[in-house]
């Protein structure tokens, strides 16, 4: 007689710890918390911009606190991880067919990296 039940209990809270690829999936998922929070930072910045130079200066002071630096650093790391994982699935998400053949996946991924570099450079030049 088999003692192992056919359906095994899977933990609802720690299921992803069992396999590296589940951990990578969750690491990617968690980046959305930082992106959500960062979007609100942008909204607060916009609000201070609407309220005049003094309000904006207050926003800048808050940004320059140690927590502000730490938060921005965490967002940067999370956002880069999100970008890399987003671009790496683009061949599956939007395969491009040319005649009979599909365009090779690494070409699509590299095109995204190239465009990412250009966009980042343009925003840096505009913003700095």
């Amino acid at each position: 007689m088999s003692s192992k039940p056919y359906i095994r209990e899977v933990s609802k809270t720690s299921w992803f710890l069992s396999q590296p690829r589940y951990k990578r999936y969750m690491a990617r998922e968690v980046t959305c918390i930082f992106i959500f929070a960062y979007t609100f930072l942008l909204i607060f910045a916009l609000g201070s911009l609407a309220n005049g130079p003094d309000a904006f200066q207050e926003f800048l002071s808050a940004l320059r606190s140690p927590w502000g630096v730490l938060f921005n650093l965490a967002v940067l790391v999370a956002a880069v991880y999100h970008s890399i994982s987003w671009f790496s699935v683009t061949p599956q998400a939007m395969p491009i067919q040319r005649g009979e053949e599909f365009v090779p996946g690494n070409l699509i991924v590299n095109a995204h990296y190239g465009a990412w570099a250009v966009v980042s450079l343009v925003v840096l030049i505009l913003g700095v």
Binding site: I43, L63, V69, N72, L76, A115
Partner: protein, 113 residues
């Protein structure tokens, strides 16, 4: 096939993922530089106000914030479920409510600038 509003939301979700993938790292880099006081010319009131005062600047700001917000909200809903919290309706109201509030705040602020 049954009609579904899924493509619209799925399209917004994909647009948000692409926009955040391209823009959030460099934006976070700039705000990090500003937070670390790399240069006094970073994030000046006059420059940003002039950008947000132009109709094209307003459109860009609104578009970026809108898709980032709803993309992240949708993913947050799934992430909460993945961490074992089985209260989807409450979570959905909460995250989409926050996204809606953020959208409204963005609109009001942009109109006031």
């Amino acid at each position: 096939m049954a009609k579904s509003n899924k493509p619209i939301f799925w399209g917004l979700f994909a647009a948000g993922g692409t926009v955040t993938a391209f823009l959030t790292p460099v934006l976070a880099l700039i705000t990090l530089f500003a937070a670390m006081r790399f240069s006094p010319d970073l994030l000046t009131y006059d420059y940003l106000h002039a950008f947000a005062n132009h109709w094209l600047g307003k459109l860009v700001i609104f578009g970026v914030i809108l898709v980032s917000l709803w993309h992240a909200a949708h993913r947050l809903r799934v992430t909460v479920h993945d961490f074992g919290i089985r209260a989807d309706t409450v979570v959905a109201y909460l995250v989409y409510g926050l996204a809606g509030l953020g959208t409204l705040m963005t609109l009001v602020y942009l109109l006031r600038i």
